[in-house]
Every structure is written in structure tokens, then in C-alpha cells.
């Protein structure tokens, strides 16, 4: 405790020098915390926007097997609703979706898109989240009504009330074309919003040649977005009690980078009659988002180490000078009975305190910087994918920050280690004789 006190006193004696050294550490820590948190926030926003596009972050679907061919077609919505009730999972939205890929054609102009077939009466949250800039919900009374994004409407030159064609494949893989009437044009919340096209699920099913009550998947928007995988495993366990279900954990084990492929392989290999259920999370569908985040964290750790190698040279040189400055003081301490190890420890503690204070300042500045940045509204379409309503958001990862703090402390200690050893080895008589 005495050693720590001495180390702290030494640092506060040379305020200017400590400020400069701590400032260098703070700068390094600020950079990596800022990059990490912003990348985390951006990827979360991207993930949430995609989840919104697909109607949720957890998907439940049923597959059937006919002559080794796997088809995905879900009919028993009641069973899924019972499973959700039993799980007690909290979610903000739920819905049945049929989603078809194809090309919208209007007067020679084309746009490749997905059309989401929804039940607007039941999906209140979806209805609330769609902000119409043209047309109205009354127009949705037409069975073939379609809502498209304003960017798409502008690109195709369409207005409300006009009819477009949608070229697609049926369930039996035959080419087909459907006619849709533009009921409304919605405001694009982001670049992704521009490809959000909605229609009535019943009409989309008819075009795809599905039964009216069938759908591709049942989706929920779980409140705990970060723990989708835990919730998915929980749902899987409940389904397993009543019906055959694929094994998500086995898919993760077999194919950690492509969980959906792992589940599809299970469906291909398994034999069953009737429905085989699968529970998939949004992160399973787009594992790259998690991968990008890990890559960003590794890169920022690399940047931190590179920055600190430069900072270490500065710290190391400064402490060599410090030893020279304090040589008589060290000699006196040693002459008064301070042991070799203790003399060295004072320097090591100085390094620890310097790195802790520097990192704390860097962390606080990074949070302040992010708070200030999040106050600005950005309208760039390219950036919109990563923003939340036009604002940058950030996610602080305690694990990642702790690792970086440990790295900073260790590197600073490494930089001071040489000087600490030199101080410990000083002969008290020689030190006292030294003149500056």
C-alpha cells in the first residue's frame, strides 16, 4: 500500500510529464474504444433493420419430405402460438410471412425485389411502423394491393393506383406473373427500406399456389435481441416435446459459420413423416454480421497494440530519464533500508496507475465523443444501413474493453520494466555519489 502511495505521489509530482504520458495512453484507448463501440452499434443497427425487413429475429418453420425432396411450408400456426405461450418469451411483434423473390415490371422498367406477404390486420406493429407518403391504408382493401418504397416508386416512375406486374416462380417452380395494384408508397427508413415491398399474404399464396392459410415461416421480434440463440434453443426444446425438430446446437457445432446450412443438411439427412420444425435466428441467417464484429474487434486490438508499441518507446525513454532524475532519491531510499524489489515495484506501480488513469480518461472521452456524435443526424443513404433513425449508436462490449485494458496495462508495465530493474539494481552509495 505504501508502494502504491509512493508511486501515486511520484506521478503527481511531475504533473506535466504524467499528463503527457497518460494522454498518449488515453488517446490509444480512446481510438480503440470508439471504433469498437461504433462498429458494434452499426452492426446492431444493420441487424435490427434486416430483422425488421424479415418481420422478426426468430423464425419457426415446418418442412416436409417427399421423395427425398425437402419442402418448407408451415400450416399449423396454432401449434407455434402454443409453443410461444409455453416458452414465456417476451416479443414485441409476431406474424406469418410468405416471402417471394421476383421482378416488378412497370412500363419496361424492372426492379428485382422480395415481396413480403403479411396479415396487416394481425401485424399491428408492422402497420404502425410503415409511414405512408402516398396512398392510404383504405386502398389495401384490394386483394392485390401492394405497398412499395418511395425509392423504388421513383426509380420505376410509379404512382398510387397504377398496376404493376410481378414475375416469379410458383411452388412447383413454374414461371408465373401476378398483377398488383399500388395501394401506397412508404417512406424508406433506410437503404434497406427501399426494397421493402408488402402485399396481402392471401394473394401472394394464391400466386405461389399455396393454401390460403399456409405460410413460409412464423416470426417473432424477441425483445432480447442480443440473446436470440438462447431463446431459439429454448423454443426448440419445447417443440421437441411434441413434434420432430432440427437440432440447432448440432448445426452450430457442425457448421459454425453457416448454421442455416447445418440445419438444411439435417433436413436432407433425416427421415420423418408430416412436419419437421426448425427454429432459426436472424444471426443464423446472416452469420457474417457477427463475424464482421469479431473481425473489427481483432483489428482494433491490432491497432491498439501497434499504437502502444509507439507509445511504449516514449514511455520507456521517459522512464530512463526519470531514473536519472531520481537517482539520488532512489539512493536515499535504498540507504534507508528500502529493498531492491520494493524500489523496482514503485516504478511498476507507476506504470499500472498511469495506464489505468490513461485508459479511464480515454474511455470517458470515447463515451463523450460518441454521445456528441449521436446528437447529429446523418441523411446519407449509404450510411443509413448502419444508423438508427439517422443517428450513430454505440455498443460497449465489456469483454472486449477488459481485454484491451489488460493489454494496455501489461504493455505499459513492459515499457517501464527495464527502468524498474535498473532502479532496483542501483547501489545506494553510487547513486548518492552521482551528480546530475
Amino acid at each position: 500500500m505504501k508502494t502504491i502511495g509512493l508511486a501515486f505521489r511520484n506521478l503527481s509530482r511531475q504533473k506535466k510529464r504524467s499528463f503527457l504520458l497518460g494522454g498518449a495512453i488515453a488517446f490509444g484507448f480512446f481510438i480503440v474504444t470508439f471504433v469498437d463501440a461504433l462498429a458494434g452499434g452499426s452492426l446492431r443497427n444493420l441487424s435490427e433493420q434486416f430483422s425488421f425487413l424479415f418481420g422478426g429475429n426468430i423464425f419457426i418453420q415446418a418442412s416436409q419430405k417427399d421423395d427425398d425432396k425437402v419442402m418448407t411450408l408451415t400450416k399449423d400456426a396454432l401449434f407455434i402460438e402454443d409453443v410461444l405461450k409455453e416458452s414465456g418469451i417476451r416479443y414485441t411483434a409476431e406474424g406469418k410471412r410468405t416471402m417471394l423473390f421476383g421482378t416488378i415490371i412497370y412500363e419496361g422498367q424492372k426492379a428485382v425485389t422480395n415481396i413480403s406477404g403479411c396479415d396487416f390486420e394481425k401485424e399491428k406493429r408492422l402497420k404502425d411502423s410503415i409511414s405512408l407518403v402516398q396512398g392510404s391504408w383504405e386502398n389495401m382493401q384490394d386483394s392485390n394491393a401492394l405497398i412499395i418504397g418511395e425509392t423504388m416508386a421513383e426509380n420505376l416512375g410509379i404512382e398510387v393506383g397504377e398496376t404493376v406486374l410481378f414475375e416469379m416462380q410458383t411452388a412447383k417452380d413454374y414461371a408465373t406473373v401476378g398483377e398488383f395494384k399500388i395501394a401506397a408508397i412508404n417512406r424508406d427508413p433506410s437503404l434497406l427500406g427501399s426494397i421493402m415491398v408488402y402485399s396481402h399474404i392471401a394473394y401472394l399464396n394464391e400466386l405461389y399456389e399455396l393454401d390460403e392459410d399456409a405460410f413460409f415461416f412464423y416470426t417473432i421480434m424477441a425483445e432480447d435481441h442480443e440473446n436470440q440463440d438462447v431463446l431459439a434453443n429454448q423454443l426448440e426444446a419445447i417443440i421437441k416435446k411434441y413434434k420432430p425438430v432440427t437440432n440447432r446446437l448440432e448445426a452450430v457445432k457442425k457448421n459454425p459459420l453457416n448454421i442455416v446450412r447445418g440445419i438444411n443438411e439435417q433436413l436432407k439427412e433425416a427421415s420423418w413423416e408430416g412436419d419437421m420444425y426448425s427454429v432459426i435466428t436472424f444471426d443464423d441467417q446472416v452469420p457474417n454480421i457477427k463475424q464482421i464484429l469479431s473481425i473489427v474487434q481483432y483489428v482494433s486490438l491490432g491497432i491498439l497494440i501497434a499504437l502502444f508499441l509507439v507509445i511504449m518507446i516514449g514511455i520507456s525513454n521517459t522512464y530512463k530519464m526519470v531514473i536519472f532524475e531520481r537517482i539520488k532519491e532512489i539512493g536515499t531510499m535504498r540507504a534507508l533500508g528500502v529493498k531492491q524489489k520494493e524500489a523496482g515495484r514503485i516504478f511498476m506501480w507507476e506504470a499500472v496507475l498511469l495506464s489505468l488513469f490513461g485508459s479511464l480518461v480515454g474511455f470517458i472521452v470515447a463515451i463523450l465523443g460518441m454521445k456528441v456524435l449521436s446528437l447529429f443526424t446523418f441523411t446519407s443513404e449509404e450510411l443509413s444501413l448502419f444508423l438508427h433513425n439517422g443517428h450513430w449508436t454505440y455498443v460497449l462490449n465489456a469483454g472486449s474493453i477488459s481485454i484491451k485494458l489488460i493489454v494496455v496495462v501489461l504493455l505499459t508495465m513492459l515499457a517501464v520494466r527495464g527502468s524498474a530493474k535498473q532502479a532496483a539494481k542501483l547501489n545506494p552509495a553510487e547513486a548518492l555519489r552521482t551528480t546530475r
Binding site: I105, G108, K110, L165, E167, Q169, T170, K172, D173, Y174, A175, T176, V177, G178, L207, E209
Partner: protein, 253 residues
């Protein structure tokens, strides 16, 4: 009573005769389709040709795609190598049994694809070029009627797809009566929308069979778009086995 009996027998015989005459005039559609299928099925030998696709779209210059096709129908194998445009040279399709791949020479990757996919930006599908379906197994003939197409007397046969192999749910064929040649084909969606019309104006004789060397595929959904498929350098010489391998496509680049 006897008089009435005679009347009934007369009416029954008349109806029978009428139906017999009608039946004689309206042949079995499958019999016509079988002949048609034989025209372009080279199950007994290898077949190769140069396939040129001229893609026309409104307000755009015509685009030309060219492929060399090698087919061994007996083994459900074909290789189609892109020759034009220069930028896509070396790309191609390879079918071996039920597997069909598209080869990307830049990424040097084979990706699974389907015979129903359009070739490049054209209205032609790989399935149009290799014609692997069977009228008897993949379609149900729903009607046959006599008609006229230009100067030709034709049989108009309506077909409904019964397997997942055809690209369209319904098709109508206009087949010449004097020589069994397909003159026109209409492709419909399941909801009866006309999606594509194919015209067959030119044929050539290869090994006593008629082969369409020009097909005009008119896109009825995207009005004004059409693709002309022209066959040239047709040959039935034996093709080396190595041509139907992935290594062959990879080795070309």
C-alpha cells in the same frame, strides 16, 4: 313399336358413325407429340452445335451471346461453353445426370443452377436449348383442335405440366399437319397469363430429322423484348468423354 325401335337404332348408329368420323379426324395428341419429340431427340448419338442468341430490348442495342453446345442426351449430359461476348468467354454450363452447374471462369467456381434459368440477359433458358422433357411423362394433353397458322393447317395442342420439369404450367403447341413440325409455342402461367411466345420459322434436316435452326422467343410480359436463337455448325459426330467433365471447362481458361 318396331318403327320406334328402328328409329332408335338409326339414331344410335348415326351418333356412333359421327363420333367415329370425328375420332378419325382428331388424332391422339400424344402420337403427334411423340413424332415431334423424335425430331429433336438425339438419344442415339452425340450432338453438337453453335448456339447464337440475339437479345433485343427496347431502347438498347442488340446483344449477341454465343455458345458451343455438346450434348449426349442418352446419358443426360451436356456442356455449353460461352464464346461471345468476349467478357464472358469461357463461362459455361455442365450437366451430368440430375446435376447442372454454371461455371464462372473469373471466380473459377461451379455453382448449381437450373434448366429453367434464363441464359444471361436473354429470354432463352438452358432447357430450351437442350430440350430434355418428355411430352408423355411431363405433360397432360388437355385438348387438340384443328386450326390454321398463316398458310399452314395445324394441330393446336394444349398441354398442362404434370411434373416440375417444364418451365411453364401450361403450353399451347401449333404443329403443322403435313409434316410434323412445331411452328409456334405459347407458354402460359398457372393463372393463364401468356408469358412467352416462341416462333419456329426455319428448319434444317439433320439425319432425316427436322431441327429448328431459328427460334424467335417473344417475351409477352416484358413487351418489346425478344431473343432469337440461331443454330449453326450442327454435327452428330462422336464427342470425347472429357468434354462432359468439370476439368474440361476449367482447362479452357
Amino acid at each position: 313399336m318396331r318403327k320406334n325401335m328402328k328409329k332408335i337404332i338409326f339414331i344410335v348408329l348415326s351418333i356412333f358413325l359421327l363420333f367415329s368420323v370425328m375420332a378419325e379426324n382428331t388424332p391422339d395428341p400424344y402420337a403427334i407429340l411423340d413424332v415431334l419429340q423424335k425430331q429433336y431427340s438425339y438419344d442415339d448419338q452425340d450432338y453438337s452445335a453453335t448456339v447464337t442468341l440475339i437479345v433485343e430490348k427496347p431502347n438498347q442495342p442488340a446483344e449477341q451471346l454465343q455458345f458451343k453446345l455438346f450434348q449426349r442426351a442418352a446419358k443426360k449430359q451436356f456442356t455449353m461453353i460461352q464464346l461471345l461476348p468476349e467478357t464472358d468467354k469461357g463461362a459455361g454450363y455442365l450437366q451430368d445426370g440430375d446435376n447442372l452447374w454454371y461455371y464462372d471462369p473469373i471466380g473459377r467456381k461451379f455453382n448449381h443452377t437450373s434448366l429453367k434459368q434464363n441464359i444471361g440477359n436473354s429470354d432463352a433458358k438452358a432447357g430450351d436449348v437442350v430440350k430434355e422433357y418428355s411430352f408423355r411423362d411431363d405433360y397432360e394433353a388437355t385438348s387438340i383442335e384443328s386450326g390454321k397458322l398463316g398458310a399452314f393447317d395445324v394441330w393446336i395442342i394444349s398441354l398442362k405440366a404434370i411434373s416440375s420439369r417444364p418451365a411453364y404450367a401450361k403450353e399451347v403447341y401449333y404443329i403443322r399437319k403435313d409434316i410434323t413440325l412445331l411452328l409456334k409455342e405459347e407458354n402460359y402461367s398457372a393463372n393463364d397469363k401468356l408469358m412467352r411466345t416462341n416462333l419456329y420459322p426455319k428448319y434444317t434436316k439433320v439425319l432425316d430429322r427436322y431441327l429448328p435452326i431459328q427460334i424467335i422467343m417473344r417475351d409477352e410480359v416484358n413487351k418489346g423484348e425478344q431473343t432469337q436463337q440461331i443454330l449453326s455448325e450442327i454435327s452428330t459426330s462422336a464427342i470425347p468423354n472429357k468434354v462432359f467433365t468439370k476439368a474440361y471447362l476449367e482447362g479452357l481458361n
